[in-house]
């Protein structure tokens, strides 16, 4: 029994885990028992030598760098067939989305070019202008407004008239004291029917104002209502109007 107790105390004593009372008694036992004392010395030496074995010193960053290279790509950039498929689907979706919006945009542009704005879609807008001048005077006036400066609206009006009526074909310019004058050798009609936008309407109004006695009809809308030419341009800035221009002078 004493031997068993001595054995238990011996290990607790070596490990520093023995109670104070037991410690004093164990030290008395060792003093009286040379064999126990020798066993303790041997175990203490083994313990000391074991704890003084070689140690591993790790270089501060080399191992971490290798480890993080292995861990981080695993989590973030691992290439799998599923991820490749998901990525390609995302790209395909992006392409379809871009194509859709391009289509919508092109349709919108096309609609505007087709003389139907969003605001006037479905309306047939018509009006008549009676100008107290000849067709030649009117056309000269349009060209002079183009020459006079940077009026993009005048340039556009001339393009619209030329495209739809071809009145400028063969015209030639002569110098006069008051400026350039245009001759139209092919002859000119008594009236002009063109489809113009709101910007060109403004230009026409500017020209009409040069000729007193001219009159401008209201714009007839499809719903039966009427607008002045000026209001039409304000309310339907992207709208188009079928305009009949009559010339009161030969």
């Amino acid at each position: 029994m004493n031997r068993l107790k001595a054995k238990r105390w011996l290990n607790e004593y070596l490990d520093g885990e023995i109670g104070l009372a037991d410690k004093a008694e164990f030290e008395r036992m060792m003093a009286q028992d040379p064999e126990l004392r020798q066993e303790y010395e041997q175990l203490r030496k083994i313990s000391l030598l074991m704890s003084s074995g070689p140690e591993v010193e790790v270089h501060p960053s080399a191992f971490r760098a290798k480890l993080m290279d292995r861990i981080v790509p695993q989590q973030r950039y691992n290439f799998t067939p599923q991820r490749a498929f998901a990525g390609s689907m995302l790209v395909a979706l992006l392409v379809v989305t871009i194509a859709f919006f391009q289509y919508i945009y092109s349709r919108a542009v096309e609609n505007n070019a087709g003389n139907v704005s969003v605001a006037t879609a479905g309306l047939t807008s018509e009006s008549t202008i009676s100008i107290n001048a000849s067709a030649s005077q009117f056309l000269n006036a349009t060209l002079q407004r183009v020459e006079s400066g940077d009026s993009r609206a005048a340039q556009k009006l001339v393009e619209q008239i030329d495209r739809q009526a071809g009145l400028y074909e063969g015209a030639f310019c002569t110098k006069t004291a008051s400026g350039n004058s245009y001759i139209f050798p092919g002859g000119l009609p008594g009236e002009l029917n063109i489809r113009v936008d709101a910007m060109s309407l403004g230009e026409i109004q500017q020209i009409v104002s040069q000729y007193p006695g001219s009159s401008v009809a209201l714009v007839d809308l499809a719903d039966g209502s009427q607008l002045s030419l000026r209001d039409y341009g304000v309310i339907h800035p992207m709208g188009r109007i079928d305009l009949r221009i009559t010339f009161n002078r030969p």
Partner: protein
């Protein structure tokens, strides 16, 4: 959330654990910096194979990275890591099926193979007596041979106690055994080593 881990860890370590659990790679890098020496030494002490220290340590840290989310703070992070090291070393040793070079094998570093660590000889050399130093080295070698020859349950517990200087409670917690069992196994392991080594 870091409060959960304060019972067994410092505030700094608790904070680090939380950040690692949230997937912060920088925090895990800090954790590796803090515990790499600890893990390398445990691997060296329990596996004893110098050539495998780095690879095994890397596998252990990969496991720590994978399982850090499961750490619940029921023991210190060091104890938790120690369990992972022991489990991995046991599995690895079973695969290797030999402990013949435990502790004392000379480094077999291949030319051009850069290692992230080095083995430092910490044997006390206070006597300035070459003969005594040689004798001490021989004695250490004999002791390690004896430890290497112990059954696994005695070898592990003796290393935990004598080399890692863990308390009975810490050993019991890590191995999942009672303190009484810890005491009896340590006592038995010491007896076995003392019987094998001739110490004056």
């Amino acid at each position: 959330m870091a409060d959960t881990y304060l019972a067994y860890n410092s505030p700094e370590v608790s904070e680090l654990i939380v950040r690692c659990q949230q997937g912060d790679h920088r925090a895990f890098d800090e954790l590796v910096a803090k515990y790499q020496r600890y893990v390398f030494n445990l691997v060296y002490q329990h596996l004893g194979e110098i050539d495998e220290i780095e690879d095994v340590s890397q596998e252990i840290f990969v496991r720590i990275y994978k399982f850090i989310g499961k750490y619940r703070g029921n023991a210190s992070l060091e104890s938790w890591i120690y369990k992972i090291v022991l489990n991995y070393c046991r599995t690895h040793a079973r695969r290797r099926s030999s402990f013949s070079r435990m502790f004392i094998s000379a480094p077999k570093q291949a030319a051009g193979d850069e290692k992230s660590f080095e083995i430092l000889d910490t044997l006390p050399d206070a006597t300035y007596d070459p003969a005594k130093t040689v004798e001490q080295r021989r004695l250490v070698q004999d002791i390690m041979e004896a430890v290497r020859g112990l059954p696994e349950i005695y070898r592990t517990i003796l290393i935990m106690r004598e080399v890692n200087e863990l308390s009975y409670e810490e050993v019991a917690e890590i191995l999942g055994i009672s303190i009484g069992t810890v005491k009896s196994r340590i006592s038995r392991a010491r007896d076995l080593v003392r019987q094998k080594v001739n110490i004056a």
